[in-house]
Symmetry: D2
Subunit: 418 residues, 4 copies
């Protein structure tokens, strides 16, 4: 069995933490029980490139219980939890290739190690496996039945590939499941981003001006939580509809050029590049705190920031203080990497429970439907989505109404009068 | 010119109120200016069955400015504003058939009067015109290019008809425009429903338990506003995903059988029938206040309520007090009709501005594309949706960012690295 | 029996509405039951100058059940509900002097009619009775045991009088009871002010900029509810601490000169004079909507507004449109009088229940302690305050914990270790 | 110079972190500048028993700049930041006696070391110095001019002592300054308690039931933030007025016996003992998470919990999992000590800025007024309170209005008409 982790002796601590996460992952637990009996992934190798956290551990174990051989590598060099990696290798015999803080070269070699295992299914969190397969490992594409993608960012790239006719195998856009992005992006990113910012800074949010760049599901969640902590929230957008929604939700909407001047905190969640640029950094207030919670660390133009700075020092773990040539100090958190993983622990288990339930069920779906699927990006089947919601609701102890026979008839009829 | 309104001498008051609404309808105003010049509806007759309010007046005037002949009838017997009807007839020579409080027979005869004018386009708010055309006026269907539908309820019925292959002409589901249902259903229904309940009762919302039946866009808006006024909100649902969202938004979710026992206020916004039934009424607290804000007055089973009551009296305008056989008193507002129109003035102009901008632009779209459209239910074209958002945002004075050339490339590329 | 009301035949409608209010006034109901038995106000004449509403009717009836002779006049010419006045006269033989819309002369003559009845106790809502007694009816002062005052505004004036040594008899500041101003000012004013604004305008609050002048308890309530309806709220203040609290609550704080330029809605709740002046009106946006919810109609400088206007017309009931010489239109609601009474129905019964329970219990307290009280402004005794809270909580069905014996000891001890 | 800290070599890291805090403490910075010039504490020894954090460091430095000799010991064994302690000793020559995790014996010996320095002024955070002085170091009392107290808990104890006539010297209740408890207790405790809980557990708050015991300022802050993060909040209380306020704020209020059965999270902020007892633990849901954010670790009856448990293990740093004899697992955070210090970093600097500005100014006040002050508990003088608010508001960049001459006259007059 191949693997590359920091230190196997960390397995014991990892075990405790993975068990802690499991308490909040009742949906995946139900799926694991079924997989254990039915082995729907028997003979299947899964290459999963995900944040190596306690929640991902539950997914990996679930896939293995379903009969799969699992190769797990990191989707971000900073997010790996070394004790979890050790635990998966030692106690579960899962091939993990991930070390927290690994450099770029090791990062890519780890992805290649996973590809070396000739996967039938890929699981991506930012399309890195798909990307490498298409760029330099095209020989391995033919053996792949299909893949899944966890992030908005990844889905955008994959749809662009499909549109260009270059996508080599079918992908299920797990990100687009309602039980994924409605919950993970909004409630998960909302809380965990603020958690990351507060851990990194220990600053009071209440009474500050908090600028959220992007009002997609992540941005909505972040804006809602920043307000919930007492901030006066400003939103920047490039889309008319999202901007209008932000206005109607009571937020101020303005271009970043204006927001830059008044913000105490800034956080990008756009999926786009260079959202905060040197012309913005230059006009910020002295002491402004800037972070990113989008998938890639490209949303802040740190190169531009460096070009207008005369000094940079670490003033606190995860806080780089840049002194600009104009004398102002700007604090950048977590080197611009997604802050909820850099300085906190990523999404709480409770939301990952649903995302990863979708992952597990979509892997099963790909195997069952391998022959029918084309080289396209697919939505998560509605039956999977509803099943996940039903299992979660039950775990929450919330009960709902059922349609009466009369109501069913009414909803299906157009003849019933006013 | 044919018409049937209460009293033409009310026109003067109607004029003032329509002008008041116009101040908050800048999007429709822009469209009206263009229509005036381009006359895209020249030679077209529109039969519009909508709530006859100040905002609808703006739409009717806009259509007329675009060259159309307009026949306007009421989509609800209680929602007609007689002064507005008079104003449209007297000052704008628009054929209005609507009298507040008209009985069922007059209501349908008014719809038929509009149909008598042989419309090329129908505009519905609950599918009543479509319904009557298909039931008893089939001769008029052949002359129709297409129609639009304003409500969720109507769209559900029309999709059912399309599915059954019985829909006689194409319909654009204006309700499904993002600039319609995101705003109208959520912000409009949210505020105006509480406005209606407060006007009808003068009760304090703060510190009460408020039960919202249904967590669609209307229900989300209502729950958000009831909480915003200090209520402890309980949600009932039949859909797993919506129920889960309500839980995550911090609301309690339970079956109506449980909610019935603890609510001070109840309001249905489901689009379904008999959501609150006699088994629920019977278990409510003494003095409970029950209303509906869904399109049709079928959501409360008032027949069932009457069957378990021993007395009914009007205790305040729009408040019927039922004394149950078990001694408890239940207050039903506005006879179960949608409360934001029954006891208040319906959606504020600001949201109707967007809905009706979509209506006007979709009417133009139907005329332009009459030959291409099939007998189906169509979504509002995205270009119309975006145009409406852009016009509204501008009117709000909110500015947004534009994509930089680098960002455009990034978003369209899948090759740019991590 | 003397009285002066609009029309006794309105009594029937008044009765229904007073009964409706009674459903939400369980605390006063309990007090009424006790008063009925104990007659603590036997032989006492009470001159009450309050808004003549359904809730005040309950108070008047309670006082009468306690043995008092009651003279009721209006504390505001616009707030009288003629049907309630009729009902009190006809069914309860209470002397009411109040007609909705009465002019200034009648207003004062009505107060004098109440004073003519030689009260032992005065109840004020803005200190008008006290004021007239001290200015022109000093002969009646000697017979007075004491009085109560309902408003912040009144208490400020009365404390100034006491400080100047000119107060002629003791006053209990009912306004300062926790169960009064915490609830009435915050929850009552919050909701009812927005209710008044919405009824007067039918405008959507969501997505607008709402300027609240003053962040006392009324201002806090109003800001909270405006935000709860989706507004972006701006606060103006003259007090450092209140301003800081507003900042920490996430609102923008700025001088009125700056707020004037950005507000869509303005509402004053300061207890001060000329808070919005012509230099502010002049810089407002075209179409701005301005109202007052403070006690007196002096917070808006309408004289100043008229001096910079070229035209004024009524565009909707309760809406005066001023066209400024600079061409902009400013809409003033309810002629600057407190808007929750002008265009809506004042505080909901539920909060008045607590305020008026304090009034009734304080009247009893004044009678019992007449000999001990000095010519000062007194706080409501804590026992009264707690009793009101306990009765309300019970009516709400909420239960609380009781201190254990161990906890009682702990709270009274300073020796128990860390 | 005497001191007892973990390791002087940590000073460098401490320096960076103290500087970081200083950025958010502009009010104290202004005071420090003045103290530096005026030396109002020349010749004065201050024994400060406070949480040894970066913010306290700023206070200690400010006092020293004012001329004082400072002895600093910890008010809680777990809250000491060893690097900060080292920095104060090494760079500022301040006597610090505090080591994170010190046992009870060392804790008290450290307090005695501070007392050994014969203070003129004591600063307490929970009345421990006062307590020890009165119990076992009475000889040192005569030299003391006065003291200050930071917490609600301490003030309650000191008032009890004053009432019993046993308080040996005057105390200023810094806790009761508006600029302290309005901000520190509400905004500081609110955010930092949730920060502590989230760091300890990494659990999602959204969609859970969060039970807050106590609705004082801390409880209000905590409830507001828990709701802000998406929880459904339940409040328990023993005071009628506070309970009623919670109801009106939209929370459910119930006895702990009922809340115990439905909570996912529990947090006590009461200042009382044994608020959650074994009869409550026994009925909690499996997996319930219980913490305390009140000053002393007595609010959870952990002895009672142990008596009904069969197993206890650490499952995550700061998380003790108790397995009850009935099989359920209960997770207790930070051993019941105040969670915002145990697992997070205590109040953010921004709120401590105001609390400690009050501390510094009250120390100056005690020195200036030593002869006038009696052995009582004093409120913070209003001039100090207002000065702190003014300085903070300025630092926040928020401007407010000033009274016009006309307004000043109006507010001081009772003769100005309606």
């Amino acid at each position: 069995m191949k693997y590359d982790v920091r230190d196997l002796s960390l397995a014991k601590e990892g075990k405790l933490r993975v068990e802690w996460a499991a308490q909040e992952m009742p949906v995946l637990a139900q799926i694991k029980e079924r997989f254990k009996k039915q082995k729907p992934l028997k003979g299947i190798t899964v290459a999963a490139c995900l944040h190596v956290t306690t929640e991902t551990a539950q997914l990996a174990i679930t896939l293995k219980e379903g009969g799969a051989t699992v190769a797990l590598c990191a989707s971000n060099p900073l997010s790996t939890q070394d004790d979890v990696a050790a635990y998966l290798v030692k106690d579960h015999k899962i091939s993990v290739f991930a070390i927290k803080g690994e450099n770029n070269k090791t990062y890519y070699s780890h992805i290649n190690s996973a590809i070396d295992m000739s996967p039938h299914i890929t699981m991506d969190d930012g399309a890195d496996v798909v990307s490498i397969l298409h760029k330099s490992r095209r020989d391995k594409i033919s053996g792949i039945m299909g893949g899944t993608e966890e992030t908005t960012t990844g889905v955008i790239r994959l749809r662009a590939m499909a549109e260009d006719g270059v996508l080599g195998y079918p992908i299920v856009a797990v990100n687009d499941a309602n039980t994924k992005h409605f919950f993970d992006n909004r409630y998960g990113t909302g809380q965990s981003t603020l958690d990351g910012i507060i851990r990194a800074t220990n600053r009071l949010i209440s009474g500050t001006t908090f600028v959220v760049a992007g009002y997609g599901w992540c941005g909505k969640g972040l804006a809602m939580r920043a307000r919930g902590l007492g901030a006066n929230v400003v939103v920047t957008e490039i889309d008319e509809l999202a901007a209008l929604e932000a206005v109607m939700d009571g937020f101020r909407v303005m271009p970043m050029a204006d927001a830059a001047k008044i913000g105490d905190f800034f956080c990008t969640v756009t999926g786009n590049i260079s959202v905060i640029r040197k012309e913005h950094f230059r006009n910020m207030k002295d002491g402004a705190i800037v972070s990113n919670s989008g998938h890639f660390n490209v949303e802040l133009d740190l190169k531009g920031l460096r070009s207008i700075s005369k000094k940079k020092r670490v003033v606190r773990e995860y806080v780089d203080e840049y002194t600009l040539k104009n004398g102002k100090k700007i604090n950048v958190l977590g080197d611009g990497r997604l802050i909820n993983l850099a300085s906190a622990e990523g999404h709480p288990s409770s939301v990952m429970d649903m995302s990863f339930a979708n992952q597990a069920l979509c892997a099963e779906y790909v195997v069952k439907n391998a022959k029918k699927l084309e080289k396209k990006v697919y939505n998560v089947p509605e039956t999977i989505d509803t099943a996940v919601a039903r299992m979660k609701l039950k775990a929450k102890g919330a009960k709902i109404d059922k349609l009466t026979p009369e109501q069913k008839i009414y909803l299906n009829s157009w003849e019933m009068g006013t």
